[in-house]
Amino acid sequence: MTNDEIFSKVQAIIVDQTGEDDDKVTMTTNIKQDLDADSLDIFEVINEIEDEFDIKIETEEGIETVSDLVTFVEKQLAKEQG
């Protein structure tokens, strides 16, 4: 899966959970600060990402931007394929 494909799935999940427009959710968006997401929104976004990509995200620590999420998913997918 390419970086762009991962981004567009992650973007769709965040848009669905936060109710923001697509163009407000870019790679540099800080999920908590820019989208006013609280801890339960983050739980739900991580839930959906775990289900969508069939990966496990052990901790939400260190994940602040959409880019952080996309990179994390990319690494996890590579690990599982490797």
Partner: protein, 325 residues
Amino acid sequence: MTNIRIVQSAHVAPERVVPNDELTNYMDTSDEWIKSRTGISQRHVSTGQKTSDLCTIVAQQLLDKVGWQPKDLDFIIVATMSPDYLTPATAAIVQGRIGAKSAYAFDINAACSGFIYGLKIAEGLLQTPHARGMLIGGEVLSKLVDWHERSTAVLFGDGAGGVLLANSPEQGSQFIASDLETLGELGDSLTAGYQPVNSVFNTDATDSHQQYFEMDGRAVYRFATHSVPESIERALNKAGLLVNDVDYFILHQANQRIIDQIAKRLDQPINKFLSNVAEYGNTSAASVAMLLDQELASGTIKRGQTIVLSGFGGGLTVGTQIIRY
């Protein structure tokens, strides 16, 4: 399917109400923070009433409302994770106080699923036509809360709710289908009331578990938002019903955001998911029975309707009972 009828319901909560704003005296939190993340506005807290006291009030109300004599009861079950004692059981205390001399009485603990697990046990005990039993969920969770720990203290409250159950073949009410599941491997993600081995023979100095609530919020959130809709779907399948056939859902009242998410996953309108979490917070085994009684009293739930009752919590446990009320 069994011809079991919920004959009567009742609930009680301690008089002392603690609004969110009052909690700011004890911890760094705010009404806005609590409401937006949980939907909770206040909770009722015991100022000395024990679990057995709340359960006895419910038991007496149940008998008074329906006009049964205490000796008419075959059994009394109390579902609780905050009993007065490890022995005697809360149900035995209640049995003694109301003088239900013919009833055998015992407690069960399946945490916030306790009332649903209790319904399943009661169904098994009510196989004889005209058998009668009492099931109460009662909690004083305030004694298991660290009132300076904001991540858990804001969530819980005290209360009790119960039902009279009877095997009534002629009246059309039914326990249609149920589903119970336990995920013991995830038990550490929600704990309370640890009982240390503090005898003179204890040599384990590393025993550091806490007596108060401890919770891995994300693990519990994931469990609830996945396992509850799955349990409901399994019970509906057994019943041969579709989710659209359900008139109302009464879920354990842990957090409004969890209830909202479960409604979304089941693709059902949120107005079918009844709620009183704003008023009482999470009352564990009491929550489903307390809400059921409120909704029966208000006339929202009527005879003949299909109702899904579902609990989830410590264990981790989840359970669903589908009834035709």
